[in-house]
Symmetry: C2
Subunit: 211 residues, 2 copies
């Protein structure tokens, strides 16, 4: 059997490194790109260049930020669009592990405060310790004194629970209100298909029905 | 809701242009790329550059070819690895519509001859006419006289049948044997799930069982 020309094979190999992209998908994408005008492929290449060159971490909350983002009067480095937004409630910080979760919460439309992105979860097994995460920068923000509440919105997993507990212990002495997002049955799913741990948690967290 | 920083949003928009990539997949891929080392993304960008700069059409069969491919002694332009391979049977040409199908046949391992890639199928509805396809170059190859058989391996669709008929009429005066790939029930699929047109064609094309 004859193999693909090297430049085509290379693109297939590169695409296969992406999550969820196997041999067949990589081939389909590579052939598609080969058939596109050069300007289209160039436009993808340019977007990828800008992605790595222009995205940095917000100096406040460690969310992704555009390097061109206004850094404000204090300190160096850009701030993300949320930290720059004068309309946000600056007395609440929602702590998430990754920017993806921050945007998920933004899409839900139910939150108007600020965020803090840890960059992961504490996990001794994977050699991730508190000092590897953006915990010190969170504590610095809290020490400034204007924060009234910290909402912990971490994964409902062993690592997430462990990290929440660690953070709660660190934050408690500051007298800031610490809350965490509710755990229970997901909306729109049959109870029948909900796992036992979730059901048990939903029962523990039951709330009074007020008529 | 706050939107993604522009460089991230741009990559998502570019990825969404790819076949089979929707908003969620594009977001997942963009975040993945954002978390990769810059060298990884650069390596994808470089592969994409080479794809458009180094892949051209083989001057013989119109398959994709590396521009660095040896063009041989006659004529300008590179030849693909198949046309350059001295081990191939140079008396048979298999006609396909796109390079993807050529490689599919190569992977099947059942063919040792040469190919000719039309670049599409005749389709008056989509404004694709014989002169838009690589038919003239096919006829030039056949006129050179060393080809004994032309195998038509086009889609079993209205457009494929139409193109096969057109080609057969063009080639017939040259006295070359014209064949087409067998149509029938696909291997490994239950007869129950085979459509009627295919079954009817499979019955028409039945072959004698020799014991």
């Amino acid at each position: 059997m004859m193999h693909y020309p090297a430049p085509l094979q290379n693109v297939i190999e590169e695409l296969k490194k992406l999550p969820g992209v196997g041999q067949r998908t990589a081939e389909r994408l590579a052939f598609h790109l080969l058939n596109q005008p050069a300007a289209e492929v160039e436009s993808l290449r340019e977007a990828l260049r800008a992605l790595k060159e222009r995205i940095t971490l917000c100096r406040e909350c460690c969310n992704f930020a555009d390097v061109d983002g206004d850094g404000g009067s204090e300190g160096p480095g850009p701030r993300c669009a949320i930290c720059r937004d004068p309309g946000r409630d600056r007395s609440v910080i929602c702590v998430v592990s990754h920017p993806q979760e921050l945007w998920k919460i933004e899409k839900s439309g139910g939150y108007q405060g600020l965020y803090h992105v840890l960059g992961g979860l504490i996990s001794p097994l994977r050699d991730v310790h508190p000092e590897d995460l953006q915990i010190e920068s969170l504590m610095r923000r809290l020490h400034r004194g204007s924060i009234r509440e910290v909402i912990l919105a971490l994964d409902p997993t062993v690592e997430g629970e462990h990290t929440s507990l660690y953070l709660a212990r660190q934050i408690k002495p500051l007298g800031v209100v610490i809350t965490r997002i509710a755990q229970g049955v997901p909306i729109g799913r049959d109870l029948e298909f909900t796992d036992e741990a979730t059901l048990s948690r939903a029962l523990q967290g039951r709330v009074r029905v007020v008529l």
